[in-house]
């Protein structure tokens, strides 16, 4: 039936805002991707299990609660333990640049997209990176 990029968009932790992540979801869908949404207030354990079962290419973590430095490293750590090293992890939401730098440098996050990001940039980033993975 043809290869499709599968993306799992998640809301880890106690964060009740999903307007942003849903907008991103629509943009990725309109770019021809299969987008799975977790719903609000998910634990890292549940998200990792779901990401494994859905065998997604991209895990998108939307964080507006300020808990990103606690939750994101836990999620990427568990992905490593489960051997899901080829899953691309993206983060978005309210994440200060100095934290974003640490997440990308030390915790396996491919890129952090902040407020005001053009959704086309996210699409382009995923398509470009996936090209290098597939190749």
């Amino acid at each position: 039936m043809g290869r499709k990029v599968r993306v799992f968009l998640c809301k880890p932790g106690l964060d009740g805002h999903d307007r942003g992540v849903l907008i991103v979801g629509q943009a990725l869908r309109d770019a021809g991707m299969e987008v799975i949404y977790s719903g609000l207030k998910q634990t890292p354990e549940n998200l990792v299990e779901a990401a494994i079962q859905e065998d997604v290419d991209v895990l998108g973590l939307s964080m507006l609660s300020g808990a990103h430095m606690a939750l994101i490293p836990r999620i990427t750590g568990m992905l490593d333990e489960r051997g899901a090293v080829d899953m691309m992890v993206l983060a978005g939401g309210v994440i200060p640049p100095q934290d974003a730098e640490v997440l990308v440098r030390d915790h396996g996050v491919a890129r952090v997209f902040g407020p005001g990001t053009d959704t086309r940039d996210i699409v382009a980033f995923i398509e470009e990176r996936r090209g290098t993975i597939e190749g």
């Binding site: 499709k4 869908r29 299969e34 987008v35 719903g39 634990t43 549940n46 779901a50 079962q53 065998d55």
Partner: protein, 323 residues
């Protein structure tokens, strides 16, 4: 990263969820590797009870599937859930939101949930979905719930050959009953009126009961589809639904119909796979410059009629080459 088919097979039978997930992706992507693993899984499958769940969007199918799965988990059974959602024919993308309604299940390693986009390829969906059912069956799941929107022939095809097929409706949808009459009445083993706390629920239930009873009576001892009222969000009626499924399963076993259902399912699977191969090969042959494109040109110039062209095309497509 390419997974080795032999490793996948061993890991899957050892209960590795990541291996099952990867194999499902290979099936969805039409990856050749899947063809190396699936045949070996066949003899490990055939133990699960397959439940089809269909109905209009917004009827509560995902919430019902979640409730049923929770119930089975309480009984110590394992569950696989396959949620099929439509792929946009315009962009090829899909938004798969069923997991949002199944949060109570997330994190339970004994419940394997997989969201699938319908991806629109002719006949491809039912073939792929059956493959995924068989993978989860071989993976050892006791119950496999397949959920599809009850619109479109292909979506109905997918649940039609389940052991127990459930059609979900809700109150106040007068036209809903019309829609059911129009095509999916015949496939329902159980009707569910969900959101039964809404006004008009009794009426909808009565309409369905009447419809079931005005259907031409089957042979003596035939199954009469029960109409079960549920409020899935509150967990009401889930026990009754689970009992209804169990009664139906028992009926299939006692009446010997289970074997017939299995035979039908196997036939449908085989036909589905073969028709997919034939239509793909025919499509290729009829492309501009394809080996059978000349047939189309002769049809355009009225030298050849469609039926005779089909005769010739059948001769051109060597069935051995489709194996």
């Amino acid at each position: 990263m390419k997974a080795d088919p032999d490793d996948l097979y061993d890991q899957l039978l050892a209960g590795d969820r990541r291996a099952a997930a990867r194999l499902i992706s290979m099936v969805e992507n039409g990856d050749d590797g899947a063809r190396q693993v699936l045949p070996r899984l066949h003899r490990h499958s055939g133990n699960a009870h397959i439940i089809g769940l269909t109905g209009s969007p917004g009827g509560g199918k995902s919430t019902l599937a979640c409730g049923l799965a929770q119930r089975y988990r309480e009984q110590g059974k394992t569950v696989g859930i396959i949620c099929v959602d439509p792929t946009s024919p315009f962009t090829g993308g899909a938004l798969l939101g069923d997991r949002v309604r199944m949060q109570e299940l997330s994190g339970d390693p004994e419940v394997f949930i997989r969201s699938m986009g319908s991806r629109g390829a002719l006949g491809g969906l039912s073939v792929a979905t059956n493959d995924v059912i068989n993978i989860l069956d071989a993976f050892g799941k006791d119950y496999i719930i397949v959920e599809t929107v009850g619109a479109g022939q292909v979506e109905i095809e997918v649940v039609k050959y389940a052991h127990t097929c459930i059609v979900v409706t809700m109150p106040g949808a007068g036209d809903e009953i019309q829609a059911i009459k129009a095509g999916i009445l015949e496939i329902a083993d159980i009707f569910v009126v969900n959101k039964a706390d809404r006004e008009g629920s009794m009426r909808t239930q009565a309409d369905l009961e009447m419809m079931v009873d005005t259907k031409p009576a089957g042979p003596e001892g035939a199954w009469r589809p029960p109409v079960i009222a549920t409020v899935a969000l509150e967990g009401e009626g889930i026990a009754e639904l689970a009992d209804g499924i169990e009664n139906h399963r028992q009926f299939l076993v006692d009446s010997g119909l289970l074997t017939r259902k299995i035979v039908q399912r196997m036939k449908a699977e085989l036909l589905g796979i073969l028709s997919l191969r034939v239509s793909q090969a025919a499509g290729d042959a009829l492309k501009d410059g394809g080996e059978a494109y000349g047939l189309v040109e002769r049809m355009v110039s009225r030298d050849l009629d469609p039926h005779s062209a089909a005769d010739e095309l059948a001769r051109i497509l060597d069935l051995d080459e489709l194996a």
